[in-house]
């Protein structure tokens, strides 16, 4: 193993870019003032926070006063969904989402069900897509919110958000978009796309962990989620996390500026990898849409082997990746996303997610491919399920 690290799990989290760390540092030490204090170093912090807000707004095509900083992408999702639910319960109690949302959305919806709300979980097709028609049909007179992720964190599938936005706008229902995986990877404009609320998280695009933002279109009715002081114009209490907010601002600015080039780079790595895996390893299946997917995302199932074993062996070779196996999902079942696109449990257990980023190279891909070929073969040799395959009987 040694010190080699080929990091291929950028969807889990990213390192913070040096220039981002650089902009954050002074706010830990000599520019540490509380942004709500009126003296000079307080006002400097406030100014830094507002500049970061401008940058986030700019990146989304929003107005600065529509951006609210949070402590994570998960908090933004919780706030958006619970906030709209409670603020609009006089109007209705029905929420629409999909079966493949992140737990931050799914578990929040399940919590709301326990509180008397009604939730429709739209099924997805074998590529993980929902259609605007599905959304339109699911909307009822008591529907108050549609919450659909921009891009899936496991299989990378990108939803037709613009088209869905047209539907929700026409029907007068709020649209929340969990864009935690999309921001910094795909161009987004909340106005053009008719998005009412949007969640993002700093650590997915080379910003710091523990900071996110919620876009709330002006006029949208949302109750507060974290009550307390009057920070964030009275809507999200807690002493402003100035260094992290500044870092988020810098990171989103860099991400937006470099978007095209970054995309091109990731696409090249992705396409090469998909092509080679398909060519060099038998009994594999690409999960997620072949084209409508995040530029850096690859998700394969390798039949007859289990994901955690695969990850551990890759790790021993210095490669960091992820899997939808139950052993790594922290639950009894393999990934709900892989099950929702129709994979049987046993195939879902053998999934591998690779997500490329900034620092990856063509050599990383070559090294990954060689390692993968060996490891998959080795694990299959060890697998009782593969015996039958070798004997020519694939019906295990």
């Amino acid at each position: 193993m040694g010190d080699k690290l080929i990091y291929l799990d950028h969807a889990a989290t990213t390192f913070v870019k040096p220039e981002v760390v650089e902009t954050m540092l002074p706010y830990f030490t000599h520019k540490f003032g509380n942004a709500s204090s009126i003296y000079t170093i307080g006002r400097e912090s406030k100014k830094a926070v507002e500049e970061a807000r401008d940058k986030v707004a700019m990146a989304l095509g929003a107005q600065s006063r529509e951006i609210f900083f949070t402590g994570s992408g998960t908090e933004a999702d919780n706030w958006a969904i619970k906030g709209v639910a409670y603020a609009n319960k006089a109007k209705g109690n029905h929420i629409i989402t999909t079966a493949i949302e992140h737990p931050a959305v799914l578990n929040t919806c399940q919590y709301l069900e326990s509180e008397g709300f009604e939730v429709t979980y739209l099924p997805v097709d074998e590529n993980g897509l929902v259609t605007p028609e599905q959304v339109a049909e699911a909307i009822k007179p008591n529907t108050i919110l549609v919450t659909i992720m921009f891009a899936n964190n496991e299989i990378g599938t990108i939803q037709p958000i613009s088209e869905i936005g047209r539907v929700t706008k026409e029907k007068g229902v709020y649209l929340h978009v969990d864009a935690v995986q999309a921001v910094g990877n795909v161009p987004i404009n909340v106005v053009d796309m008719n998005i009412d609320l949007l969640s993002l998280s700093g650590h997915k695009f080379y910003g710091p962990k523990g900071v996110g933002a919620l876009y709330i279109r002006k006029g949208v009715k949302v109750t507060s989620f974290i009550h307390g002081g009057h920070q964030e114009r009275g809507r999200r209490a807690s002493t402003e996390n100035v260094p992290a907010i500044v870092g988020l601002g810098k990171a989103i600015e860099l991400a937006t500026k470099n978007l095209e080039e970054y995309n091109r780079k990731l696409l090249t790595l992705r396409e090469k990898t998909i092509e080679e895996i398909t060519k060099r390893i038998p009994f594999v299946k690409l999960n997620g849409d072949r084209h409508k997917r995040l530029p850096g995302n690859i998700n394969f199932s390798f039949e007859y082997i289990e994901g955690e074993s695969l990850l551990l062996m890759l790790d021993m070779k210095g490669i960091a990746a992820s899997s939808g196996s139950a052993c790594t999902s922290g639950s009894l079942d393999p990934s709900h996303v892989l099950l929702a696109i129709g994979l049987p449990h046993e195939i879902a257990h053998g999934s591998l997610r690779i997500t490329f980023g900034e620092e990856n190279t063509q050599e990383d891909v070559d090294y990954l491919l060689d390692s993968l070929v060996t490891i998959v073969e080795r694990l299959r040799e060890m697998s009782p399920l593969y015996e039958n395959v070798k004997r020519g009987n694939q019906n295990v």
Partner: protein, 149 residues
């Protein structure tokens, strides 16, 4: 997460493979749950003289399989039946709480292979019939135990 011993048995598993004319073969677990262990035993004069395994499963599943084959060789059938899951886990310097079920699987695989041996040799009472193989996933998985306090 895993002890060095677990990682060693995972990366360099002992006794992987099949035994051509095994005296007992047991398979437990189920692909749906993400782990299957298949244990082959060679038994002479009631003593286990060779053991091999194949496993589909996580790191702990592979390591416990490997350790289990090491533990049974040289033991009598009855001694082997007394190997507990705790013994397997202890021999690996412990397993993370969420992975303890894998050591259950190893114990069950030994039991199943020995039952197969007994069945082939007419040594089996009806009532001893293997019960290990038909469990549901949530009987053996306890990932969330800790979290549901």
């Amino acid at each position: 997460m895993y002890s060095d011993k677990v990682m060693d048995h995972f990366m360099n598993p002992r006794n992987v493979g099949e035994i051509e004319n095994a005296d007992g073969v047991g398979q437990v677990g189920n692909a749906k749950c993400g782990d299957i262990m298949k244990m082959y035993l060679k038994i002479e004069n009631d003593v286990i003289v060779d053991a091999k395994f194949k496993t589909f499963g996580c790191g702990a599943a592979v390591a416990t399989s490997s350790m289990a084959t090491e533990l049974v060789v040289g033991k009598t059938v009855e001694e082997a039946l007394n190997i507990t899951n705790k013994a397997v886990a202890d021999a690996l310097d412990g397993l993370p709480p969420a992975k303890m079920h894998c050591s259950n699987l190893a114990e069950e695989a030994i039991t199943a292979a020995i039952e197969d041996y007994k069945r082939r040799n007419g040594l089996l009472d009806e009532k001893d019939e293997c019960t290990a193989c038909s469990r549901r996933c949530d009987d053996v998985h306890h990932h969330h135990m800790e979290e549901e306090e």
